[in-house]
């Protein structure tokens, strides 16, 4: 069997298995086998050509690859784990927009679009929650984390920033106060404004105050 046929064969198998969302590729392995590679380009399995190319067979190969990948990436479900421990307000539901045009060349808004927006926003807030609740990730030298004074991010009042912070003698943004806390009660090193941890912390704190009207300057 030629190499081309093999690739086509692998593609056909993927189509047959309905696994288009899991992008994968196959190429010729040793004589009479096909190497199937997961979309990470690292996780591979070798399938004999003699194997029947039914939908079930395809699914079994895909499952075997995913299970291999999960073993290598035990934290894959970290968002789920974080949400089980700490309640995080869900991002806005944009599903009403599905099927409507975007008014330009990108065409209609699809279900996957809306899912992705929601998933990514929640993932950032969940990442923030993980940092917020972890003294080590915050770089605390005295084992203090944000949630020890602010359970569920209570009393962080992000809606009141920017405001004149009397104790600092200048106008503070939420991130200035986060850094103040990291430096003082937490006794860590302040984060750069664009540090991924800072961005995640802001995301979590804002997410928890979803629905609260902005009231900048409020003492």
């Amino acid at each position: 069997m030629s190499r081309t046929t093999l690739l086509l064969g692998a593609t056909a198998l993927a189509v047959a298995a309905g696994l288009l969302s899991t992008r994968w590729a196959g190429h010729a392995g040793a004589q009479g086998t096909t190497v199937v590679t997961l979309c990470d380009n690292e996780t591979k399995t070798t399938v004999p050509d003699s194997q029947a190319k039914t939908r079930e067979e395809g699914q079994a190969i895909a499952d075997a690859l995913m299970s291999q990948w999960r073993q290598k990436n035990p934290d894959r479900d970290w968002i789920e784990g974080e949400l089980e421990k700490h309640t995080i307000a869900k991002p806005a539901d944009n599903s009403a927009l599905v099927g409507r045009g975007q008014g330009q060349t990108y065409g209609q808004i699809t279900e996957p679009d809306v899912q992705k927006w929601s998933r990514e926003s929640l993932a950032m807030a969940a990442n923030g929650s993980a940092v917020f609740h972890n003294a080590e990730q915050l770089g605390s030298t005295i084992a203090v984390s944000c949630d020890m004074c602010h359970p569920s991010a209570a009393n962080t009042h992000p809606e009141t920033y920017p405001k004149f912070q009397v104790q600092l003698g200048r106008v503070a943004l939420l991130r200035d106060m986060i850094n103040w806390c990291i430096e003082h009660p937490v006794r860590g090193t302040p984060l750069a404004p664009d540090d991924p941890k800072m961005r995640a912390l802001e995301a979590y704190i804002y997410a928890q105050r979803k629905g609260t009207p902005l009231d900048y300057g409020r003492r």
Binding site: K85, H86, T87, H133, I142, A143, S152, R219
Partner: protein
């Protein structure tokens, strides 16, 4: 004002009197006296205080009048070991200094639970060591941070049984372990440390809700059966013995059952820890007062705050230890109490029996300028 005799001085005086008395006894008479004393003490349910040679005297609470007295409290110190976190250690020491400076001295000091942060033996040992500096006798209560590493083994070894009762100057005191949780750890295959860390997170939803639990409620029933209906009752529990905010375990799942057992007594007060804030409630005949923490203040929960609560000023993070403190409870002749919140760096605030009994109409403490968000 007459100078008070410190507990230490009185302790040495009593000890010396005891030994002088013993010199007059031969061996046989000594054994007779000491056995009789031990028997009498055990029969009356006396506890031998870990910080004192002298058994705490047990007043007869058979419905007699209450002799007014004061006890102090220190609560929720959340100690890590000293090398890791010196701040919480210094804050507990500050509370000990505050209480030792009280003149006259309180009859005893209640420690309200959460002595340790992660239930580590070093943390509990350190706490026990620091509390030994108190001049007045200490009554210990356990909190969830002391409990969920070894389910109470180390704590018991240091301080004795976690559930007990005693009588003092006409009041019947009950100390509960109200932080029991249904087993969430076995099915998840958690290590003791993972279990401890889960419970240590106030907003961690994996843990269960607090409860007093069946065996302890049965014990309470039997304990209260011996107490005449006219006796004032004061209950110490770590969690509030009512339902305030479930997600943070400002909550006791079987609170109503416990409240029902206390219904036949005219004057009942519950003093609880865990909430790290000024907190006041009244349900029927029961007055509730929350204790301050020495480690950090908790914000008021987004819902469920009891109406009688006089909120403390929103703590200023730039003002070290603001919102933290300790306090004292004065038992009035009628058997109700005035609670004094000694907020560090602020004026002390008294939440009186008159205020709670009148449903907030009389003797209202000052309202805070900066309320919670």
């Amino acid at each position: 004002m007459a100078r008070h005799t410190s507990i230490e001085t009185r302790h040495y005086a009593e000890r010396e009197a005891l030994f002088r008395g013993l010199q007059g006894l031969d061996r046989r008479a000594f054994l007779k006296v000491s056995l009789a004393a031990a028997g009498a003490a055990l029969a009356s349910g006396a506890r031998f205080h870990p910080h004192s040679f002298v058994p705490v005297s047990v007043a007869d609470a058979a419905g007699g009048p209450v002799e007014p007295f004061t006890f102090a409290y220190i609560s929720d110190s959340h100690l890590y070991k000293r090398e890791l976190n010196d701040r919480f250690v210094r804050q507990l020491l500050r509370a000990v200094d505050d209480v030792n400076a009280l003149d006259p001295q309180p009859d005893f000091v209640l420690f309200g639970g959460d002595l340790a942060q992660l239930g580590q033996p070093e943390e509990l040992d350190l706490g026990a060591q620091i509390l030994k500096n108190l001049k007045a006798p200490v009554r210990m209560m356990v909190g969830e941070h002391d409990w969920y590493l070894d389910l109470g083994d180390k704590w018991r070894a240091l301080f004795g049984q976690e559930t007990y009762s005693f009588d003092h100057k006409g009041v019947h005191f009950v100390v509960l372990q109200s932080v029991n949780q249904k087993d969430f750890w076995t099915a998840r295959g958690m290590t003791p440390m993972e279990r401890m860390q889960t419970v240590a997170g106030l907003d961690n939803a994996v843990q269960s809700r607090f409860e007093v639990g069946d065996p302890q409620r049965e014990w309470l029933k039997q304990d209260l059966a011996k107490v005449p209906g006219t006796t004032p009752i004061i209950v110490f529990s770590h969690s509030p013995l009512y339902k305030y905010y479930r997600p943070w375990n400002f909550w006791t799942e079987d609170a109503e059952e416990v409240q029902a057992m206390l219904k036949r007594f005219p004057h009942v007060t519950v003093i609880h820890g865990h909430t790290h804030q000024m907190l006041t409630n009244r349900i029927g005949n029961i007055h509730f007062h929350g204790m301050l923490s020495t480690a950090w203040p908790w914000p008021y929960a987004p819902e469920g705050l009891p109406k009688l609560t006089v909120q403390m000023n929103r703590p200023d993070p730039f003002n070290p230890n603001d919102g933290c403190g300790n306090g004292a409870v004065s038992v009035q002749p009628a058997g109700l109490v005035d609670a004094v919140y000694n907020l560090w760096n602020r004026n002390p605030i008294q939440v009186s029996a008159a205020y709670v009994a009148s449903g907030g109409a009389n003797a209202a403490p000052p309202k805070p300028t900066l309320t919670s968000f």
